[in-house]
């Protein structure tokens, strides 16, 4: 990805990439399905530790969302304050 970012500096590469990249990213969520179905192969682990895993996943996702949003808002406000 980082390599790609560098290569995108070249006009020639950009023209080729944009359609494919946009097409792929538009259907990005479809690409997660095969891995997601893989849950069924780990049913033993999932049923044994199901609720603990669920609690850890939900809480940490909320914490991640909130912390990012709060820091983002605070930093951008601080950035805009001196200029306005």
């Amino acid at each position: 990805m980082v390599l790609m970012l560098g290569l995108l500096g070249l006009e020639l590469v950009r023209a080729q990439v944009s359609t494919v990249a946009n097409g792929l990213l538009m259907h990005l969520s479809l690409l997660f399905v095969p891995v997601g179905v893989g849950v069924m192969t780990h049913m033993a682990l999932v049923s044994k530790y199901g609720w603990q895993l669920f609690v850890a996943l939900v809480l940490s996702t909320w914490i991640g969302l909130l912390v990012t949003a709060v820091v983002f808002r605070a930093l951008l406000r601080a950035e805009e304050a001196p200029s306005s």
Partner: protein, 249 residues
């Protein structure tokens, strides 16, 4: 001369036979089922005004898992068909460079606040997951597989492998994290209030990667662009920092 041509024709026939054998032993069932169910789930999702709970990835996975269980199809058989979709994840990760490139001026101008919020959010999500799992007494290899959960699934698998976790579980955690974010974030942001579309997108991309970003893209172009940016930053940060952090623990 004629013998040569005959041999060439023969080889085309063998090629064809080999292709046929290949196709018939490679069940395209997995590929077809995934595409058909996803397309239906997507249509229903649009009909329901993109209600978060109707998330197409969630329902496609649930329905597919039920279909496979009922028809007694083992996962490897399914995957031999679905791998063609799975394979595209790699190029898709590379394609993430595109939204970053499109927003490069913004990325440069706001580099410090963006990097800092991505770092804060990523660390908060990973550390809290590990801490909660540790408090709840989960086994160590599961805890290690939880650490990279805010990164997109293929990268999470790679990182989990380096951390001596279970790559397959890391992928599952990553997908679930994406779903939880995509489903609950709209409500969470409404409770929080006063957050721009850019902030919403950026938080979604940081905490729940591609699935969150896909959700953000459907809601608002600006949110989607920032989500794409956040998810790219998160991939780079996690791939560098998590293995480093694990070395000290």
């Amino acid at each position: 001369m004629q013998k040569k041509r005959l041999r060439r024709e023969n080889s085309t026939v063998t090629d064809f036979v080999q292709l046929w054998v290949y196709l018939s032993t490679t069940p395209l069932f997995g590929l077809t089922a995934t595409l058909v169910i996803y397309a239906s789930a997507q249509t229903i999702y649009q009909r329901l005004d993109q209600a978060p709970l109707a998330n197409p990835v969630l329902w496609t996975v649930v329905i597919l898992a039920c279909v496979l269980t009922i028809s007694d199809t083992p996962y490897p058989t399914y995957f031999s068909g679905a791998q063609f979709i799975h394979f595209l994840l790699g190029p898709a990760v590379v394609a993430l460079a595109w939204p970053m490139w499109e927003r490069r001026s913004e990325l440069r101008r706001r580099a410090v606040p963006l990097l800092l919020s991505a770092l804060a959010g990523g660390v908060a999500a990973g550390a809290s997951a590990v801490a909660i799992a540790w408090v709840l007494d989960l086994p160590a290899d599961l805890i290690r597989s939880l650490a990279p959960k805010s990164v997109t699934a293929p990268v999470a698998m790679g990182i989990a492998e380096q951390l001596h976790g279970i790559p397959a579980m890391a992928a599952v955690f990553s997908v679930l994290t994406g779903l939880i974010g995509a489903i609950s974030a709209p409500y969470l942001f409404n409770v929080m209030g006063g957050l721009s579309a850019q902030g919403r997108g950026f938080a979604l991309g940081t905490a729940s990667h591609g699935i969150g970003a896909a959700r953000a893209m459907q809601v608002n172009v600006d949110a989607g662009a920032y989500a794409g940016l956040a998810l790219g930053i998160q991939v780079v940060l996690s791939a560098i920092l998590l293995p480093l952090a694990a070395r000290f623990i």
